[in-house]
Symmetry: C2
Subunit: 244 residues, 2 copies
Amino acid sequence: MSRRRQIYEGKAKILYEGPEPGTIIQYFKDDATAFNAAKKGTINGKGVINNRISEHVFTRLSHIGIPTHFIRRLNMREQLVRQCEIIPLEVVVRNVAAGSIAKKLGLEEGEALPHTLIEYYLKSDELNDPMVAEEHIACFNWASHEEMHDIAAMAIRINDFMSGMFAAIDIRLVDFKLEFGRIYDGDFSRVILADEISPDNCRLWDFNTGEKLDKDRFRRDMGGEEEAYQEVARRLGLLQGDDN
Amino acid sequence: MSRRRQIYEGKAKILYEGPEPGTIIQYFKDDATAFNAAKKGTINGKGVINNRISEHVFTRLSHIGIPTHFIRRLNMREQLVRQCEIIPLEVVVRNVAAGSIAKKLGLEEGEALPHTLIEYYLKSDELNDPMVAEEHIACFNWASHEEMHDIAAMAIRINDFMSGMFAAIDIRLVDFKLEFGRIYDGDFSRVILADEISPDNCRLWDFNTGEKLDKDRFRRDMGGEEEAYQEVARRLGLLQGDDN
Ligand SMILES: Nc1ncnc2c1ncn2[C@@H]1O[C@H](COP(=O)(O)OP(=O)(O)O)[C@@H](O)[C@H]1O
Ligand SMILES: Nc1ncnc2c1ncn2[C@@H]1O[C@H](COP(=O)(O)OP(=O)(O)O)[C@@H](O)[C@H]1O
Ligand SMILES: [Mg+2]
Ligand SMILES: [Mg+2]
């Protein structure tokens, strides 16, 4: 454990060098941040739950043919993943108006959007993750046209699959954030889904009560975040101690 | 004059009903605003100059086949235009980083962009003209896919033409804002260039000295805005008192 080289410490995870070249270990912390780390705190047990939820979702996504970085979960807080070159975009998929878009466009929070909406934000803490359009992405070459095509196509499939998965357990998938990365194979590269999918980067509302089961509880000082994350894991069938 | 019905009073212009159905009169005021009207002032003679510059540019653009709302200038401060249904987007074309994009993406003001960049902002004073992407435009149906295609194609041609026109008089076209509108012909509609093109909505820098010849002088309290607007008109050959 102690001999592993740390590659990066982020807001919610630490990356370590993996056992083989081209692999890394994602360690899930309990640290929680919001508003570009202006607000900081801890959600007890979050790392354990997010590790488990992200494993579950990435595994299910790979079954429908979405290429992902996930290799296997190693222990309570760690998973082995393929190292990739992260594309510096946060890809946000929205089904329902909430958070920044409600404010920005004057929409009612909870209003269904006329269509599913994909947004791109530049992943830059210094610049406060500004929203960008495909024109900026092309202009600054943050991703190629082909990569953007693949990303949008994957984002839509992921949204459909996850909407179904959560609907089955009475959860409304309001919106979520994805990160993608490049892996190289000789002169070629392809795009895979990276990072994590968890209540840290999804908005998940109980279908019947509207109760928030995600990081908005922390962002908005609502309390009950530990229980909310556990409830998502429980409904996904991940709290029985069995291995999936 | 006094019997005409006023249709709208905006920040820089007043619209009156035109002499025939489907026409309106744009009256150019000397009022200047910035930062969504948080800053207000007057630039003496601006209305006269912008009316003349906009006439000049729209006329030249129609010669290269850009459809515009411009019919004819009526007098010092007024021009007759075709009434259209304004598409609620501010279309910004940028060649060089300046203003909001420099701040937002951490670029040096004056840095040439890798490529010409088109941006879209929702025209909404209440929402402070938020930047939007084609995904939002499609989602909320602010413009159709075909209209966006036509708008982007026209914006690029307008940029090329205006870059040349200003280069010829030693002015660098840094960026500018356009508005487009729909005119209906039975069941069909097409997109035409509307509003105005003037130092109010272009960034124009002297090629040799870098001197700003546009509304940034007002936004940034630099003084000399009247002289700057006049200088642009003078270089365009519009101050000789002749009619083009
Ligand atoms: N497969 C991967 N290869 C390389 N980097 C990754 C991979 N998956 C995720 N990352 C990056 O690892 C970091 C995860 O840590 P996190 O705490 O989420 O960081 P941040 O504060 O930057 O969001 C992120 O910067 C993410 O982009
Ligand atoms: N051909 C046209 N038909 C209808 N409206 C137009 C036309 N050209 C411009 N407009 C609109 O007229 C108004 C011009 O006045 P302005 O002072 O620029 O207003 P604003 O404060 O809204 O920018 C703008 O709202 C613009 O969208
Ligand atoms: Mg992260
Ligand atoms: Mg205007």
